[in-house]
Amino acid sequence: MKKLINDPSSVLADALRGVELAHPDTVRVDHENRLVVRADAPRPGKVGLVSGGGSGHEPMHGGFVGRGMLDAAACGEVFTSPTPDQVFAATVAVNGGAGVLHIVKNYTGDVMNFEMAAELAGAEGIEVASVLTADDVAVTDSLYTAGRRGVGVTVLVEKIAGAAAEEGYDLAKLAELAQRVADNGRSMGLALTSCTVPAAGRPTFELADDEIELGIGIHGEPGRERQPLAPVKELASRLVTPILSDFDFTGAPVIVLCNGMGGTPLIELYGLFAETCDLLSAAGVQVARSLVGNYITSLEMAGASITLLRADDEMLRLWDAPVTTSGMTW
């Protein structure tokens, strides 16, 4: 395992020290609870936005804390959802009296830990609403499964809900909007290489030189299917086709996230984005906004994911609203 780390057990603490030193104007860091908190939180009268999850997906979530996006991120160990104590501390830190929205990716651990935190917050008289993202079409959804994973749409929910909270949406309206965004997004990802969890010390899976994993999540978990490597034109179609067969993206403005998993260079992501646009245009999908880059990653994994959001005018307006975070600024 080759990493710029001191020790597998100190990766998160070391990184948080760096985050604090790098972004003193935007955020403060609670090292004990491993929180990245907006520098000016809590903001009286504004709904607080809290997300969080395992680390290793940077810039998500800590890099999305700031004006127009999250108020706090609870940082779990690498690929391990944060504890209820952390999420509770984040909730208290950003509660400005108007309640707090939890943005939770649908993983068993995340859901349980955020649920318990919401109970703790409720017991302290803080009103909490939760939105669940579950946009990964690689996973079959049924009553008898854990449901779909929350992946790329989480970034879009955080941006759009963040702008709405800044505008003064109340908790109920904000939760409704955020869930609407989550429900109208779909994603699909693939990996060219595995990542290596520092504590595990070896790659989570092994791929031959001509193989990809299709339908991977963001925790280095293997995908649904191993397939032969192919030109990016073909790979784009393996991502876009299942998304389009899962949900109707025609007849509305669509926001596209062409996301790198961490180890894929930008020059390749732009190529993937071009192919994706070709496929969408052939399918009659109208790309209204787009984002190309590393936003929700799996450590150093090479690969990419595509997320489509069926937007509306409200979402577009909030998408365009200013945002100032280390991971996303306009």
Binding site: S9, T83, T108, M112, V197, A199, A200, G217
Partner: protein
Amino acid sequence: MTSELTVQKFAAWMHAFADDVVANEALLTDLDRQIGDADHGGNMVRGMKAVAELDAADFANARDYAKKAAMTLIGKVGGAAGPLYGTLLLRLAAALPDDGPIDHAGWSAALHAGVDGVRDRGKASAGDKTMLDALLPAVEAFDANPDDAWAAAAAAADAGRAATVPMVAHKGRASYLGERSAGVADPGATSSTLLVQAAARTLA
């Protein structure tokens, strides 16, 4: 089967479990690497090391100690394992009698409460390839073998763990793999087996 319930006894169980988890960290992580996200070993070690640091002398009775151990897991572990093991211990603690004699029925009630807690929290069923596939047979064997309850439970947990190997996961992270989740033992069922085995060594 009647024994004494004391803080020391309960703490001995937790220490034995902590030792086993530390000794098996690489195994737990490697199972999770194959069908999950490679953190179960680290999660359990982080949590149980913190539990092992609790000073038994600080607690009035086993119930309080167990409750604190539960809160420690919840506060330290995260992931799926944190809330599940935390809830298991929290419910088990609440069902414990006061320190003093505890009989087979007393332990059985506590174990049932704990395992029901896991079921409530995680909404999984037998056969979903989770820790329940070790815990449910363990409790069943405990009930069915009043004379040798802990040993029977430990054996049943291990058999349940082994039975998860061919299973296709329906809950937890391994479920994302679909059919490809078959062929590897469930990490949580494996750590749960260590928990029951530690009980058999310390509580029998």
